[in-house]
């Protein structure tokens, strides 16, 4: 079961027994009565049933049923003058855009990801600004605020999602998953993952194997078509992945080494010649583990949601969008894959694109 509150930017995921509690209480069933039912249905001690039900209800009082007022939004302060430390002109598809930044850390975060999209044309286009104001990074499109973040990497993710959206006429995101995405033809596989479990490395290897690159970090699902958008921004490869990718991308050795978040990294630019979105065939939650045998296991929609809770995702927070997203989650096959061998993982993804899950 999935519940939502309009004033909480999130989804409450209830497992089967938690759902029983919620449904029973809505029907007016008392805790004592429900505990007796649990005892009878599940053959567990009455004391355990009472304890578990009470604990669940207590936890709901902290969030799901909390009466605490939502955080009040305030009109953000924006300075009237702005001195950028970084300015870049870029082109993505048919869209020309200009980026101005007044924060050096953010400039270091975003510039390598956009370098291959550089344009010598300084003609008017979409105007993005990122300003550090009062400890927060404010993100603006043509003077209109569309995001506020504390951390440079969070602001970078939000900016790239917005750049991709405005570059594709008519695009509106239903959901965005923290995931890579690669495809063949009109199809693709979405690969949600937590940070540092091999997502970018696998995405690079898939790209090398001939699959079409759609995204490395954010898989944006279009509201109308449910297709995955192309986000052709450079992949950030940490030092640990360089050896395993060296034979696939020998040019990496000549790429300058930068430092991000305390790690040596290199950036790999993907092709930008195909901007067409792709139809997701499945969700593949990936995890690189040293010495792991390559495995593929199906997931239920609820298990997928629990995993998305860990990997990170966003859904437009209104009833229609949430219902549409949940319907999509229920309809799309979902798997968990662990692997240690990059070639085997590549073959696995290609197999899924070819319709095989064996």
């Amino acid at each position: 079961m999935v519940l939502a509150r309009p004033d909480v930017q999130g989804l409450f995921l209830l497992n089967s027994t938690s759902r029983l509690i919620w449904s029973a209480l809505r029907l007016g069933v008392t805790v004592e009565s429900l505990a007796r039912q649990f005892t009878a249905e599940f053959d567990i001690p009455h004391s355990q049933a009472v304890r578990d039900i009470a604990a669940t209800i207590d936890s709901w009082r902290e969030d799901l049923l909390s009466t605490a007022p939502p955080t009040q939004s305030s009109v953000p302060y924006l300075p009237s003058t702005f001195s950028p430390c970084f300015v870049g002109n870029y082109r993505l598809g048919a869209k020309q855009f200009r980026l101005e930044v007044n924060d050096q850390d953010f400039a270091d975060e975003i510039a390598p990801r956009l370098a291959h999209l550089h344009s010598d044309t300084a003609s008017p286009g979409i105007h993005f600004q990122v300003l550090r104001v009062g400890g927060q990074l404010k993100l603006l499109t043509d003077g209109v605020l569309f995001g506020e973040e504390l951390e440079a990497n969070a602001a970078r993710a939000v900016l790239l999602q917005e750049i991709s959206r405005v570059a594709q006429p008519g695009a509106e995101w239903l959901a965005i998953l923290h995931a890579g995405a690669c495809g063949a033809g009109t199809d693709c596989v979405i690969m949600p993952a937590e940070t540092n479990v091999g997502k970018t490395t696998l995405t690079a290897a898939l790209m090398h194997s001939g699959l079409r690159f759609l995204s490395d970090d954010s898989a944006a699902i279009d509201r109308r078509t449910l297709q995955v958008a192309v986000m052709p921004f450079a992949l950030m490869l940490r030092e640990g992945s360089w050896p395993v990718l060296a034979s696939r991308f020998p040019e990496l050795a000549a790429v300058p080494i930068l430092e991000r978040s305390g790690y040596n990294v290199r950036f790999l630019a993907p092709p930008t010649n195909n901007q067409l979105p792709a139809v997701p065939k499945c969700l593949l939650f990936i995890e690189f583990r040293p010495d792991a045998v390559t495995t593929l296991n199906p997931l239920t929609p609820f298990e997928s949601l629990l995993r998305l809770q860990k990997t990170g995702f966003w859904v437009a927070h209104d009833r229609v969008s949430i219902a549409s997203f949940l319907s999509w989650i229920q309809s799309i096959p979902s798997y968990r894959a662990t692997y240690s061998d990059l070639s085997e993982a590549t073959a696995l993804v290609r197999g899924l694109l070819n319709g095989s899950s064996n």
Binding site: M1, V2, L3, A4, R5, P6, D7, Q9, L11, L13, N15, S16, T17, S18, L20, S23, A24, R26, L27, G28, T30, V31, E32, E41, F42, I53, A54, A55, T56, R61, D63, E109, N153, A155, A157, V158, Q161, I176, L177, H178, T195, N196, G198, T200, S218, M236, R238, E239, G240, S241, P243, V244, R260, F288, P290, L308, G312, F313, W314, I322
Partner: protein, 68 residues
């Protein structure tokens, strides 16, 4: 069981005051779930988690590299 009765009363009050809580995924009622689980079905301790949904959650760049 005065405690539980009080808890029931509080819960019912909170439920009625929280109509903004929207059931959106599944419309089957409790009986159907019990029927599916079957008598003496394996007991799963009840839990719920709040999955925060924020655009910035698609940010990476933290933590140690694992690929070797």
């Amino acid at each position: 069981m005065a405690y539980n009765q009080k808890m029931d009363q509080n819960m019912n009050e909170q439920l009625s005051n929280n109509e903004q809580a929207v059931q959106s995924a599944d419309h089957q009622d409790r009986r159907e779930v019990v029927r599916k689980l079957g008598k003496f079905a394996a007991y799963a301790a009840p839990f719920s988690v709040l999955a925060l949904t924020q655009k910035a959650s698609a940010a990476s760049g933290k933590g140690p590299a694992k690929h070797k």
